[in-house]
């Protein structure tokens, strides 16, 4: 297998290539054709709700699960190919893996756990010892080598699992929700440490998580999965700002979502085109939500759009600006008035639920804002903060919002 098909979209070498993986567990379609690539030295996150197939993808790459169809290439070795009948055993795929349950062996000491990959590879004992010391220092467990592995806290077991996964300098490190069993504070700390370690060692990694912050913080690229399918793949910033589907938007915290119809296309609305968003940022359109409210936003999808077509409009509550009613409309801003239906004080900020005609908008105001229940309030949302998706996907959205 030469690297004729190994260059990725962005021109860099695609180090890991997963192509059209399918897996069926007695009737459950766990994977329905998953494809993505990982560039050398980068981290890709698989992000999605529980049960969407993330673990199955990871286990298929490690060789712990045999997919029904598809292909997996790591570096220049095809480790799995259903057409070519290739299926390498896990032990020869040369990867490291951190398991959700840590999978630290309880009958071994910390050092025996960490040194296992080297011992199995028959590395000389003296070298094993010095490398164990090095890697334990790296993960912050220096001096604990002689401890029985069961005498460790959750966070320490996590570090043992991490040390074991990197000590043999694998070409790929797989993480299956490594932080999900830790409590919130420790999770934040470990996340930062993991990031530092990754910068320092530069390993290629695939990181499975259902936590969007983890995915955004730790990876160069995020693959969002849903029901065994890839919903979208992008760099964290792009994904965060411009989700590609309603599902991705919802999963990444676009908590205002409305079904609407296209009221106008082009400059038909105000007759003025805002200079800040012209030039490749999309065509301005108006979307009517409910009976009376029409929001101005941008259509960035290259596809054709007709007036009256169903669309989905989404924006984040943090991007909604609140103000006193009666002020004047800035041109091009979506400014409306409604009444406060509920407000929740959270210290640094306050959550509001605002009713405006048939629309209910979630908004976040500063902690010292003082709109009371039933009070009139003005809110505005910038057109560039709105995402619009064509309405064919509305069914998927319904399923989501009911959850």
């Amino acid at each position: 297998m030469k690297s004729d098909n190994a260059s990725g979209r962005d021109g860099t070498h695609t180090f890991v290539e997963v192509t059209a993986l399918r897996k069926n567990f007695d009737g459950t379609l766990a994977l329905q054709g998953v494809s993505f690539g990982v560039a050398r030295g980068t981290t890709v996150s698989l992000l999605g709700p529980s049960g969407c197939g993330k673990t199955t993808v990871l286990r298929s790459i490690a060789g712990l699960e045999t997919p029904d169809a598809g292909r997996v290439r790591i570096s220049d070795t095809v480790v799995f190919d259903s057409d070519g009948g290739i299926n390498l055993a896990p032990e020869v795929r040369q990867v490291g893996m951190v398991f959700q349950s840590y999978a630290v062996w309880p009958h071994m000491t910390v050092a025996e756990n960490v040194g296992f990959p080297l011992k199995i590879r028959r590395v000389p004992a003296a070298e094993i010892e010095s490398r164990i010391a090095d890697v334990l220092a790296l993960v912050g467990l220096e001096g604990l080598g002689a401890r029985p592995a069961t005498n460790l806290s959750g966070g320490q077991q996590q570090r043992v699992a991490l040390a074991r996964a990197i000590i043999h300098e694998p070409r790929l490190v797989l993480f299956d929700e490594p932080l999900s069993n830790l409590d919130a504070k420790l999770r934040d700390q470990m996340r930062t440490e993991l990031k530092l370690l990754q910068n320092r060692l530069g390993f290629t990694a695939i990181y499975v998580t259902h936590d969007q912050e983890e995915a955004l913080a730790l990876s160069d690229n995020v693959v969002v999965m849903n029901h065994g399918l890839v919903e979208g793949m992008a760099a964290p910033r792009e994904l965060f700002a411009r989700p590609t589907t309603p599902f991705v938007a919802n999963f990444l915290g676009f908590d205002n979502m409305f079904e609407g119809t296209v009221a106008w296309i082009g400059d038909a609305g105000t007759g003025d085109s805002s200079p800040s968003v012209s030039g490749g940022a999309g065509i301005p359109i108006g979307v009517t939500v409910g009976e009376d409210v029409t929001l101005r936003c941008f259509w960035r999808d290259g596809a054709q759009l007709a007036r009256g077509a169903p669309v989905i409009l989404a924006f984040r509550s943090e991007r909604v600006t609140l103000g006193s009613p009666g002020g004047k409309d800035e041109p091009g801003s979506n400014r409306y008035e409604g009444s406060v239906e509920a407000c929740v004080y959270l210290g640094t900020c306050q959550d509001y639920l605002i009713e405006a005609g048939s629309m209910r908008v979630r908004a976040v105001g500063p902690g010292d804002s003082t709109f009371g229940r039933g009070e009139r309030v003005a809110f505005s949302i910038r057109p560039e903060d709105c995402c619009v998706f064509s309405g064919g996907q509305s069914l998927g959205l319904k399923g989501l919002t009911e959850e």
């Binding site: 286990r59 490690a62 060789g63 712990l64 055993a89 896990p90 032990e91 795929r93 990867v95 490291g96 893996m97 398991f99 959700q100 349950s101 999978a103 062996w105 309880p106 009958h107 296992f116 990959p117 199995i120 590879r121 069961t150 699992a161 074991r164 996964a165 043999h168 797989l174």
Partner: protein, 582 residues
Amino acid sequence: MKAGRGSGSLSGALAPAPTSGLGAKPWARNLLAPQILIPGIAVLVGVALVASPFLATVVRSALAGAEGALAPSLRNFTTLFQDERFYSALGITAVTGLAATLLSCFFGLTLAWIVARTDTPGRSWFDTLNLVPFFLSPFVGAVSWTYLAAPHAGLLNNAISRYLAGPGDLLNIFSIGGVIWVLALFYTPYVYLFVIGPMRRMDPALEDAARVHGAGFLLTVRHVTAPLMLPALFSGALVVFVTSAGLFDVPLALASPRAIPTIPTTVYSLVQYPSDYGRAATIGVLVMAITVFFALAQRAYLSRRSYATVTGKGYRPRTVQLGRWRYATLALELFYVLSGVVLPMIALIFVSLSSLWTGWPAFAYMTLGNFDQVLFHHDLARRALVNSLIVAVLGATIGVLLGTLQSYYLQRGRSRLRTIMDSVLSLPLGIPGIILGLGFLILLIRTPLYATLWIILIAYIARFLPLATRGISAMLLAIGGDLEESARANGASWAQTVRVIVLPLIKPALVAAWLMLFVIFIRELGATILLYGQGTETISVAMVILGEQNFGQVAALAVVQTLMLVAAFMLFRLTRSSILES
């Protein structure tokens, strides 16, 4: 801690000191409270049942001389240690116990792995079938194997000489090998039960981690799977070694006919005329010491290997795809089930239906006469059936009652003696039935209890009560004490709380313990053989007595006994599955 918060401690700590002239001190009043008094009595009964045969045996071993003129002396020990036959019996018992343990570890571990972790066809069936020998009588098993593998007379030997032109005495069940073989078949389910739980609960990621980090299948087994299973396997092996070495049934059926000496059969013959109780008691003391040593060793070993109980929650059981090897594992399963259950039962049924057994089924000799005899005419057999049923039903009921109270003390009591009591009460578990029977014989031979059903009942309960206590304790531990405390806090008395809250919750464990004791009491031979008298024979004793006269009636009696055991087994499976469902 939980138990310490029991209502008893609350009233003890918070109640003001009595000021009226009642005279009772608070601790005395506490001791008389029903929740302390009743379980306490059950524990004392248990201790007495353990201690009295122990002490009687020890005392008798230290007495020597003619009956009626016994004097303290160590002569029993010195003469025993000079007796060559004692050493050969000891050696043979150790060898058979050890070999049976190794073989049943092999079977138990492999079968558990096949059922729990592979895609072998029919796994769920085998999960039940592997346990069947656990409920059958080892004595009947050994007798059935003589129908299969006695030289020149066994079905298998005859089949070999007929169809394979082999010699007619290729298999000889009347040998040390035969004893080992039947013991291994019957103790395999013990190992199986010990290891299948940990095997099912083990986080498969532990093995996956080894695979991913470079170990192949066999290296993973060596470095991860095997060491993780070792504590459970070792515990099972210890139990199997102690109980199989002390089992009387199998050597009686297979070693005694060829005068091969073993420890249990030696004790038996020392009590027959001309008897030597002193020497029998001396052997008894040594066996008890060895058993206690093993029990302590097991405790010490397990407390060092605490990870034996470190298990995951909610792991998806993953099965190994065996491919063509599925047929090899299937063959091993079939081999075990055929050897342990199917073949012996077929042979037994053939013999029970034959008026004359020639080592080959002959339709000319087919008859129901044996059953007609043992069920309706033969006095000894009919008496034995009635006696066994009485002892089993009564014994299981008393056992469950005492076991419940003891568990309540062990799990909910607040006495500092609880951990010690736990050890003391479970001591009889490893003591061979015949040794405990000897203890009660020495103790009660001069009392009116001797040669009544009561002495048999007492010995049975003493020997097997810990099984009931353990099962019920586990259930009490699992449900915790909070529900009782809230009932007490809402004003229910202790008796009401037990009746309305505790008993309904532990009912599945009570039913299981009752059935377990019933099964054991129906088939027990070792604890009975020294204690029965004219008129108090049990089914197993009747088989021993009849064995010298009539093959067909022994087999018919064995079939009847087996039907009782199978019925109890089926009830047990039913209640167990209803426990799992709820």
